[in-house]
Symmetry: C2
């Protein structure tokens, strides 16, 4: 039990560091220093830097699911649930105590896109799962009759993700005064366009 | 002359490294090793790590302007020029020999958004200039009568940038088979919506 709690504590600290400085800043030595443990103690927990990075991404992805998707499941299928996912995602990007440096998944995506290897593959897998879940929520919205029957859910997923990335950029890097307005407006427009025939394949 | 050429060569190598591994991976020692110079020789050129990072961003931003905006200036004002900027930007993201790791400016944006300091300020300034130039091209398109007179160019600029970020994400990280189709289609739709009254403030 004690070992398990300590592992979770280490991951929490490592996650905060990755949020601020990126996954590349993570090393066994650096984290050992941060948590006040020996390098060999930390090595005993995680075996390698790559494994530690993978577990950080896993922890972030779990938390993302708990904050963004799980609470939205309480909403009725279709449009209400889709809107809840979006609102939770926006709040996630606005930041929390856990992630003082913004969404570690978005940061890792630009950081790792050209570093082939296990960590990139793992991140890609997590991103594909996220996109799959967005598309599933969109498909249910079609099935409920809240969207036009011809909506291309894959295309909708890409549009949706693009708006989120644009919001992240304007909000976190530029601190742009209209970031919230742009993102809110754009999501409403996207939903309206899906009710017509505009996002067909 | 020899000193000047050598400085440009160093920056080119440093830029390639930053493209693959991010700006945080840049240090005087690391670049000295890559170019086969002494640390003190490199220090003589750049004075500090921060200054080296700043010059890398400057070099990338110059190149971006030369590849994306300058050739578009040959096109007539308005829609033709706007489309040329977009095409050049898409090609820029698809990559070049100089940037094997994708757009270093997008990577630096997620990397630095929560690291207050001179480099973040500098990047933010460059990003605001880019957005200003996008908005200027959009304003000229309005002035030429190619867009509806009520188009909110600031909002258009954000939409445009969001599509580019979405394209970058799907293309470079996920290697998604429909990335090109999505981005091309979305830009055409954005232009069509600007011809109506849909992107008003």
């Amino acid at each position: 039990m004690r070992g398990a709690r300590s592992r979770a504590e280490i991951l929490k600290i490592a996650m905060r560091l990755a949020s601020r400085e990126g996954l590349e800043a993570i090393s066994i030595g650096r984290i050992a220093e941060k948590v006040g443990m020996s390098k060999s103690g930390l090595f005993g927990h995680f075996k390698s830097k790559e494994n530690l990075q993978r577990e950080i991404l896993e922890t972030v992805a779990d938390r993302f699911a708990k904050r963004v998707f799980v609470p939205a499941m309480k909403e009725p299928r279709g449009l209400p649930r889709l809107k809840a996912i979006h609102q939770n995602w926006i709040r996630w990007i606005q930041g929390s105590q856990d992630f003082p440096g913004g969404c570690p998944l978005i940061a890792a995506a630009s950081e790792l896109d050209d570093q082939p290897g296990l960590i990139k593959d793992y991140l890609k897998e997590k991103q594909l799962l996220l996109i799959h879940n967005l598309q599933k929520a969109a498909q249910l919205t079609k099935d409920e009759g809240h969207f036009h029957a011809d909506v291309d859910v894959e295309r909708l997923g890409w549009y949706w993700y693009s708006l989120i990335l644009g919001y992240h950029h304007y909000k976190r890097l530029l601190n742009h005064p209209r970031a919230d307005e742009f993102a809110e407006h754009a999501f409403d427009e996207l939903l309206q366009r899906c009710q017509k025939k505009e996002l067909s394949s």
